[in-house]
């Protein structure tokens, strides 16, 4: 048993951290000025968009652990690029469907795709069915991927974003969402690759959940670090506020919650490619349930430690909170995960 990153994985963490450091946000004003195209290019050049491409033996270039390492770094930097949507969720879906050429275009960074989610943001849109739908993480993307039912099983459909979608003024300032209210006619959508099997979809969902958890862990850890640094420097009553036990315990509790989330997430990320799909999905739901239950509290605590300044739009704190809130909801909040875990544990479904 070796539940620690390998040397190669630590190197990857460093590379991802460097890219996140140069393209991440220090304050909300950076959102307008960061060169997002350059950040995307840097990720592509480092091969980080191609982690889920398979070799001749069908093994991904990077396992769930590598994906989580990159996702955590980008979450920590609040980097405004569609890594999860395009390089993880859409690419993996295309690979599982055997659409290697389309996946390769995403992996090269030449084109981008997001995913089409249901109105609760709780999973991939399954067509036919009623909207509204949300294209998620669609910055620079021409299309969002959805599932279309067919007699042979669900197929991956490419939903063009250029007609019928409107950019949403959503919570998350770092990743784009587009909404569609107009009906979607599955017959007019282009499908790609072969139908997906239940095991494929379970493994895909496990990867999606683990990657979102890793992003959340990055958001929380970076936010806690910012709050702790601030508590060491901010002086009131003639002393740093971090010398007050009330503030110390707030920080300690946030730290414990974030670290516990990291432990559950690391295992979920490892499980994606190593365990049977249903076991991997249980590990991922477990991590997501915990991440979703602490993400709001941790980022709120950080805003609390920053006091008045932490409540302002100009401050970075709410950008962490916003990304964390979005992550909580994506692919099912805590309650959703708990009910699914209960199905597995109590009824053996």
């Amino acid at each position: 048993m070796h539940a620690l990153l390998s040397d190669e994985q630590r190197m990857l963490k460093e590379v991802a951290g460097q890219i996140a450091g140069s393209s991440g946000l220090e304050n909300p004003g950076d959102l307008a000025t960061r060169d997002r195209a350059a950040a995307w290019q840097a990720l592509a050049q480092a091969g980080l968009l191609a982690l889920r491409m398979r070799d001749e033996d069908g093994r991904p270039a990077g396992s769930g652990v590598e994906v989580a390492v990159v996702a955590e770094a980008l979450g920590a930097g609040l980097v405004p690029v569609p890594y999860l949507g395009s390089a993880v969720l859409a690419t993996e879906l295309l690979v599982l469907a055997g659409a290697d050429e389309e996946a390769g275009e995403l992996a090269d960074g030449v084109s981008r795709a997001g995913v089409l989610l249901d109105r609760r943001l709780s999973g991939l849109a399954r067509l036919p069915g009623g909207g509204p739908w949300y294209g998620w993480d669609v910055d620079g993307a021409a299309e969002a991927l959805a599932l279309v039912d067919s007699p042979e099983g669900p197929r991956v459909a490419r939903v063009p974003l250029d007609t019928g979608f409107a950019q949403v003024d959503g919570a998350d300032l770092t990743r784009a969402t587009a909404r569609r209210d107009a009906p979607l006619d599955p017959a007019r959508l282009r499908t790609v690759g072969r139908p997906l099997e239940a095991g494929d979809l379970a493994r895909w969902e496990a990867l999606a959940l683990a990657a979102i958890c890793a992003d959340t862990v990055g958001v929380m850890r970076a936010a806690v670090t910012r709050a702790v640094d601030y508590a060491k420097e901010r002086v009131q009553y003639g002393v740093p506020i971090g010398s007050f036990q009330a503030v110390q315990h707030l920080c300690a509790e946030a730290y414990v919650n974030a670290e516990a989330a990291a432990s559950a997430t690391n295992y979920a990320a490892w499980a994606v490619d190593e365990l049977e799909p249903e076991e991997a999905l249980l590990a991922a739901r477990t991590a997501k349930a915990h991440c979703a239950s602490v993400a709001r509290e941790v980022t709120e605590t950080v805003m609390q430690v920053f006091g008045g300044i932490g409540q302002t739009y100009e401050h970075i704190a709410h950008v962490h909170t916003r990304r964390a809130l979005m992550n909580r909801q994506l692919f099912g909040d805590e309650g959703t995960q708990l009910l699914r875990i209960a199905d597995v544990r109590l009824t053996g479904e």
Binding site: M1, L4, S6, K232, H249, E253, A264, L339
Partner: protein
Amino acid sequence: MDYRDTPQEAEFRASLRQWLTENIPVGWDKIEDPEAAAQMRRAWHRTLYQAGYVGMSWPVEYGGRGLSAAYDAILNEEAGNLNAPSLPSVGYMGRAVYTYGSEEQKKHFLPTLLSGEAQWCQGFSEPEAGSDLASLRTTARLDGDHYVVNGQKMWTSGGQYADWCLLLARTDSDVPKHKGISCFLVSMKEPGVTVRPIIIASGEAETCEVFWDEVRIPVSQRLGEPGEGWRIAMTTVAYERGPADIGFIASYRRTLARVERLAAERGLLDQPETRKQLARAYVRGEVLRLNCVEQLAARVSGQQPGPEGSVAKLLWADAEQSLQHLAMDILGADELTGTESGWLSSYFTSRPVSVYGGSAQIQKNIIARMLGLPR
């Protein structure tokens, strides 16, 4: 990164499992008489020792097998899974002796500590020195080639069955409080030692207070240098909180399974709220387990135990106490009227988890230090 056993670990686990199924004393958990239970634990300790399962991660020269802490963790896990009696906790006291002891002390004390012939307890806390352990008042006055000990210790678990005590006492009151403490290896059979059980809120004798009245200890039984007691104590408690000692995870799982059965018996499994609560309890247990697994991996790779043990301790207390709350909510009146016996006692037994071994508040202080927050 790999959460699976190595081939060697898997082989060890398989043979251990076989051994446990053959050697766990039948009906051990039905023993009600405390004396008989203590005897059973002693015998269990000897059985484990003879099979080579005690002190596996100790250095070979001190009777161990020089294995990584992962093996202790596997032992804990399997013993818990197969409902074995609690494992003897020789690890952290042994570590104090082999880290700080003289050659003579090691030769004299370690073999019987390992084998279970001699049972040990820990004399640290006092009525006026709980969280603020360094303010302890028990004194050891040098008198020729002996120290003479006077004072009172509290929360001395297993004190009534112990042969020896790892004792902290003040040997110098003229220096800052952390620097005037020394550590001793003392026989509990010495004249002047009086042990009284402490009945905790559950109504059970869980621990003891120990009175020390002019107890004489040979100078040769001081562990380490005079004034080194605080350092020894801190090493000891770091390992006491250690992730290898994850028997509580297996016991948590067993309790959760019982709570799930209770919910099923009461027809509550079709209630979404109950289902969520049970799943939440499962999640808490998994998060705790995975946090411990990571800390263990860090330990195996050579890191010394540090403040991260405080994270696991806080998670553990929260999981254990939340699970008892859940049981209470499911049982309702039945827990309060004695219809379902044992659960109220389990509830009160879960309360001190956030107090002993360093209270939750002390653990948060430790984490705040680690984060570099100013004093």
